[in-house]
């Protein structure tokens, strides 16, 4: 994925509609998926993505450390976790709270069912494993970036990602998806 320059962000922040559209088209998908996997609700995920772009609009480009994508991922991840913690007393992830409607996932009935099962498997992971897996595969962050984002050592990140993938792999093999 090509990284968009800081220039475009600065333009967008100055009200350049075209620059905003480019930024939004570029990162909307990945942010929405990341937020959805944490929150389990498309509406809440949309709110998180919108809030992320509003935050991007507020910060000065010179304050960006590294790539814009990483910045967006970190913000979206934090906002999604915050939202999840806010809703925690009211919701508990279980079978009945998972989106039953496979229409949420990409078309084609078999693919939709497969993706629903993958989603379910990821949702069943512990928080620490799930967050790292989502940041790696859906946030497309490097191990170093994940380590900085979550403020945990690189070794822990690597260990958790391995076990997260292994658990998912075993569960999906039981379901004959892998």
């Amino acid at each position: 994925m090509n990284e968009l320059g800081l220039g475009r962000t600065a333009k967008a922040q100055n009200g350049d509609q075209k620059a905003w559209n480019v930024l939004f088209r570029k990162y909307n998908r990945v942010l929405l998926r990341l937020a959805f996997l944490i929150l389990g609700s498309l509406d809440q995920a949309r709110d998180v993505v919108q809030e992320t772009f509003i935050k991007l609009n507020q910060i000065k480009p010179k304050h960006f450390e590294g790539k814009i994508k990483s910045y967006l991922m970190v913000i979206a991840h934090r906002l999604a976790l915050k939202e999840k913690n806010r809703l925690k007393p009211f919701t508990k992830i279980s079978e009945e709270h998972l989106p039953q409607n496979t229409d949420l996932f990409i078309d084609d009935q078999i693919k939709a069912e497969t993706q629903h099962q993958i989603y379910k498997t990821i949702s069943e992971l512990s928080d620490e494993h799930r967050d790292i897996l989502i940041l790696k595969f859906y946030g497309e962050l490097s191990y170093e970036e994940i380590s900085k984002t979550l403020n945990i050592p690189m070794g822990t990140v690597k260990s958790r990602i391995f076990y997260a993938v292994k658990i998912c792999k075993n569960k999906l093999q039981e379901k004959r998806i892998l």
Partner: protein, 134 residues
């Protein structure tokens, strides 16, 4: 090399969790061992499947149109507040009761009667009544 590579090690290789030397050793082994090559292809696909969820609504556009819209929103809010103040002021002017000034009667300047008016008050009847009292 007769021993085949463990599946966990292949997964670590795929996830780029191994040191450079270990990764090279595995690469060399895969290039020679057909069984491990097949297994590595299978393992290679696993993270792709786990990270392959796609949503139908990813292309949806719902964001406000950048900074302009946010600025416009603030201008709208400010305008609503100003209009609110203006309406409040107007209403207060309309509802406010008229001022009633209470002044003592003796402080109000009375028009003085002219000599002619005093004279007309002394009608014939009054003079007659007056004379009767004597």
């Amino acid at each position: 090399m007769t021993n085949h590579i463990d599946e966990d090690l292949l997964l670590k290789y795929k996830l780029e969790l191994l040191e450079v030397n270990d990764a090279k050793r595995i690469e060399n082994h895969i290039s020679e061992c057909k069984t491990c090559l097949e297994k590595s292809i299978e393992v290679k696909n696993q993270p792709n499947v786990i990270g392959g969820i796609k949503l139908n609504e990813e292309n949806e556009f719902y964001l406000l149109d950048g900074k302009k819209s946010i600025t416009t929103e603030w201008i709208k809010r400010a305008a609503i507040i100003l209009i609110g103040f203006f309406l409040g002021y107007l209403t207060s002017q309309l509802i406010r009761p008229n001022h009633v000034v209470v002044v003592e009667q003796n402080l109000i300047p009375q028009p003085q009667k002219t000599v002619l008016e005093n004279f007309s008050a002394c009608s014939d009847e009054n003079i007659w009544r007056g004379s009767k009292n004597f």
